[in-house]
Amino acid sequence: MRLIGKTFQKLKNHRDGTLVAYVTGGDPAPKYTPIIAQALIEGGADILEIGIPFSDPIADGPTIQAASVRALRAGTTPRKVLEIVREIKNQHNIPVGILTYYNPIFRMKLDRFFSLAYKCGVDGVIVPDLPIEEADEYRRVAESFGIDTIFLAAPSTSKERLRRIVECTTGFLYLVSHFGVTGEREKVEEETIQMIKRVIPFTTGRIPLAVGFGISKPDHARVVVENGAEGVIVGSAFVNIISENQGKMSKMLDEIKESARRIKEATIQNLGIHSKI
């Protein structure tokens, strides 16, 4: 088992959920991301996902679109984001993943991307526009560097497909909570709970399950974890804090830390208390 899997396992042993915290790399500028990462970790994030900003983020809502624009304006490149990960990994013993659309990887070529990612200490990669049928070579190269390939499952994913996605996935399975793009939401839909229940039989004993898209409040995290998902992925909530506190760095960091702390708290000792498994 690699670092991401071990992290989930350790927390699970305490009946805690895992908090995976996302921010866009280089937002508002590359030099700030390691500091923001530190605030997330101090607040209680268990795993970090750092996004490579892309010009055309089709799976993202307005919040992360705006973050991508800020990061790109600040001169953020895929290589810079990998450098940021290196810096974070030098300071913290925590799993760090990369989230990116496929084209930046394709452009760099798989071998070069993964060898650089390996050198920078990247533990896993999530690519929202790379479904399993296009991912054979990607998986082969990632595996050769010991980097986890985290695939996504969605409310529309069939059972037969879910089985294949779980087979292709290492690290954790990323369950998209609802039909839609990333962004904060008011509440966790009943549909999401049903989805978690539907997916758990496929992941149990194989791979941890984490839920993302729209998970932005402590209550959301609690509900998801109580129903048996081993983790939550929270992005837009943190990115919104960055967006609202441009030029007010210490306030931004305090709020990020506090937000992470409250969400993390909601996952503690709550794992699976509402699920029968």
Binding site: I58, G61, P104, R107, P131, I165, G180
Partner: protein, 399 residues
């Protein structure tokens, strides 16, 4: 070696194509693929489509011998495939009728589409009005400014137009927004894409519906000339009128084919939209094909005087046909297109769309270089009424 017309194989044209989309959409594109495979063989579906193409869209469109233009150029005979005479004023209706009928069979009542020049938006609105479906069109705010007339037409046709303010505010951003809508509403919504782009099976479906252009023209030219043309010329934005023209001739190896991209202010200026001529391989809007991008894989902004060609990607089948050297991809600049726009208007009394003017501009250059025998067919993908203001402004500045 498979025949070129045999592709796609396993969702791909050689290595191009595929379906690089979020997992949520996989179920939707598979449902579409299955429906299409069934409908393709369904006599009732075929009959219904044929009915709308003839009685509603006005097909077959004529193949017109442009005698004045031919004389002026002094080269091979130039024929125009008159898609400008199809209902709505462009080839776009061939595709929107086909897909709207598919949507209906799939039980989807809400249709979304992107549009650049507004021609696809108009054609979508028309097909939806005719078939009793609700159309919502995404359009970049920049394009809405330069194609005001079409925005008004869409509204008249009872479509809702959503202005897109992200990125370059043009076609690519309209597609991004349409994809986001689709991800959110796919249970009720059909995404009616406007060119041979996007994830499989769209490039194949749109090609098949647009192939009516080439099928008709093959028949027409054989009747008029008793021989296949020496060359086919069509403009390439996403590439739908071009592939519709070329596809039925792909296995006729003696027929030369030219796809004409927009060189904007010149390929060296960086202000162009020539993905095949000046781009590189990338994954964008669900497909592996040629795109205009920087070294880091960020998609670049494009420029063309014609909104319909102003797109940084191109259909995967074109990438394939370029690599196997079956089609030659060439370019025409804004200036050459405006010139061709005027020439055709003056010589033949036909005002062509600025998109189609790119094809004409190349054909005019090419006609000078070839011997007198044979014929060249230029696909006149649309009419130019929508562009009159842009051209007037452009000529005004030059004066």
């Amino acid at each position: 070696m498979k025949k070129l017309s045999y592709y796609p194989v396993n969702r791909k044209y050689g290595k191009y194509g595929g379906r690089f989309v979020p997992e949520v959409l996989i179920a939707a594109v598979r449902e579409l693929e299955e429906t299409y495979q069934r409908m393709k063989e369904d006599p009732n579906f075929k009959k219904e489509l044929a009915h709308y193409l003839s009685d509603y869209a006005g097909r077959p469109t004529p193949l017109y011998y442009a005698e004045n233009l031919t004389k002026k150029l002094g080269g091979p005979k130039i024929y125009l495939k008159r898609e400008d005479l199809a209902h709505g004023g462009a080839h776009k209706i061939n595709n929107t009728l086909g897909q709207a009928l598919l949507a209906k069979r799939m039980g989807k009542k809400r249709i979304i589409a992107e549009t650049g020049a507004g021609q696809h938006g108009v054609a979508t609105a028309m097909a939806c009005a005719a078939l009793g479906l609700k159309a919502e069109i995404y359009m970049g705010s920049e394009d809405m400014k330069r194609q005001k007339l079409n925005v008004f037409r869409m509204k008249l046709l009872n479509a809702e137009v959503h202005s897109v303010n992200a990125g370059s505010k043009t076609l690519k951003d309209a597609i991004n927004e349409a994809l986001r809508d689709w991800v959110t509403n796919l249970r009720t919504t059909y995404y009616l894409i406007g060119s041979v782009v996007g994830p499989h099976p769209y490039p194949m479906i749109v090609r098949d519906f647009q192939s009516v252009i080439g099928i008709e023209l093959k028949d027409q030219i054989l009747k008029k000339e008793g021989a296949l043309p020496e060359a086919l010329v069509a403009c390439v934005g996403g590439g739908s009128n071009a592939i519709g023209t070329f596809y039925p001739f792909l296995d006729n190896s003696l027929v030369k084919m030219y796809g004409v991209e927009a060189a904007g202010q010149g390929l060296a200026s960086q202000k162009h939209a020539a993905s095949l001529s000046a781009g590189s391989e990338g994954v964008f809007h669900g497909m592996l094909s040629h795109v205009l991008q920087n070294n880091e894989g960020q998609i670049q902004n494009t420029h063309s005087i014609s909104a319909g060609l102003d797109y940084p990607g191109v259909g995967p089948e074109h990438s394939f046909l370029k690599t196997v050297q079956r089609v030659e991809y060439v370019t025409a600049t804004d200036e050459e297109a405006v010139n061709a726009f005027q020439v055709l208007s003056e010589e033949e009394g036909i005002i062509p769309a600025l998109e189609s003017s790119h094809a004409l501009a190349f054909a005019m250059k090419h006609a000078h270089k070839t011997n007198n025998k044979g014929s060249i067919v230029v696909t006149l993908s649309g009419r130019g009424d929508k562009d009159v203001e842009v051209v007037a402004n452009c000529l005004e500045v030059k004066k």
